[in-house]
Subunit: 157 residues, 4 copies
């Protein structure tokens, strides 16, 4: 990564979730933006929207990589919308573009993102997401997740 580029943190998790989880994702996005990181995500609702909203609250930058071909499908907190038309294969791109991944609970789409992150050796920090072995760091609050993801991302530079 060129030294002038900002760290990119992927936030992955369910497209529909409880208010509590959304608020936690918001905290992750806010922390990332406050520390000069970029939030990248799948661009839709739930965890993705929470994280993007948090980043915008802190004046940060957000990128959303959509499964569909339609920019209109992005949530309102996404600055730069990349509509792929590739369906779930866009999960791979979310992960590849990230320097580290924060994983929230989600279903099989989230699982696939975690699998691809591990496959491509991206650091993954989990808040109650899928248990997939020791390569994933488990934390129990959003600030720790965001801080740890930023540290791991910087280390990978």
């Amino acid at each position: 990564m060129a030294d002038n580029r900002k760290v990119m943190i992927a936030v992955v998790g369910a497209g529909k979730c409880s208010k509590k989880l959304r608020d936690m994702a918001f905290e992750v996005g806010k922390y990332v933006a406050e520390h000069n990181g970029v939030v990248i995500c799948g661009g839709l609702g739930g965890i993705m929207e929470g994280a993007a909203k948090g980043a915008k609250e802190a004046g940060g930058v957000t990128i959303g990589i959509l499964p569909s071909e339609n920019k209109e499908d992005a949530n309102e907190y996404i600055d730069y919308v990349i509509p792929t038309g590739f369906g779930e294969a866009r999960n791979i791109m979310v992960v590849r573009a990230a320097d580290a991944v924060v994983a929230f609970p989600g279903k099989y789409g989230t699982l696939s993102e975690m699998a691809f992150a591990l496959h491509s050796k991206k650091p993954v920090v989990s808040i109650n997401a899928w248990k997939l072995g020791d390569e994933i760091e488990q934390v129990d609050n959003p600030i720790d997740a965001a801080r740890r993801a930023m540290e791991l991302a910087e280390k990978g530079k």
Copy 2:
């Protein structure tokens, strides 16, 4: 699925594996071909090669969807090679083309295939592969795996 089309069974698992696992994959491929099914896989070595070899032993048909752009990367038992150049995203295509999936032990690429199969509601039969919940049927020998996958695939017609 048109009634005249053969059932397609994806066999997924590690690209490098023990002889024992390869032999088990061979049995799966052979059973599928003997029962008029087509083996589809990622086209490379290990589990994929074992399954394709088994299918050819029984005079069956094999399809391999490669991560690379080069047909030469396919193992010698693949009849129809689809070289995608899409890297790991080809895993999604292997699963989408299948009517059911037999999963062998593998690393995160295999995990992503199982995740995508579950995401797209394809039946998955596992022989000691990742434990991901009750939607996946666990069996302990290749003949049971192949038989059960064929049954589930036919049911989905």
Copy 3:
């Protein structure tokens, strides 16, 4: 390409076309199958359906790589359906899997397939398709197109 593998000929062109063009595509597919080649295409209607029907008439094998995730979208003459869910990006896979391409008139999807074929140095034989320079052989009847495509494909082995 392994010596035992059959030559694969992509037939590309409009998904909706005149009966005359469909009949010409039928002749291409029939010739390819009669000479032991496999027809690969985008799996939908028009030129693709004509070519697949011709190949089946001659007892050949057909592969269709669909833009959608649904096998049901394939025409009835496709033996092996690969539903990608990748939209127009599936055009790239049709071309990559082919040893040579026969191009019929079509719109921008066809143009993109011809562009990708030229980009990846696949031989292209055109029957009144887009004029894109000297690397594309122009012929004016389906038998010449199929024969020439088979020759170029064999040469590339």
Copy 4:
């Protein structure tokens, strides 16, 4: 497109080109950034690098969607790097993310981007790029190209 989002202009063309063409691409990127647009491109050299450099000169934002999996392959003027690992299929994403496309001379990769732009009904402005019919506006200097692309992009909002 949400009203608060900036217009995104794709600049496509050869990855290796003359200094004169690079300078023209620079002018396009600069104009786009000066008028509050974002430059999106394939992230590599030649036309892509010229356009990105121009945008950064004017304090703008640049996004590069790479064919490879490696962020390091991006040119130094790209702010946000999306490494796809999807090879030439990334061309489709460059075009889909754009509200309008400026096309410079290029080979078959550029042709495929123009084909996909036309296929998905994105406005294309050409500076001596492939002649593909009346749907593409021909201009002969970079300022006209950038101005016209911005107008067409705004109209599509």
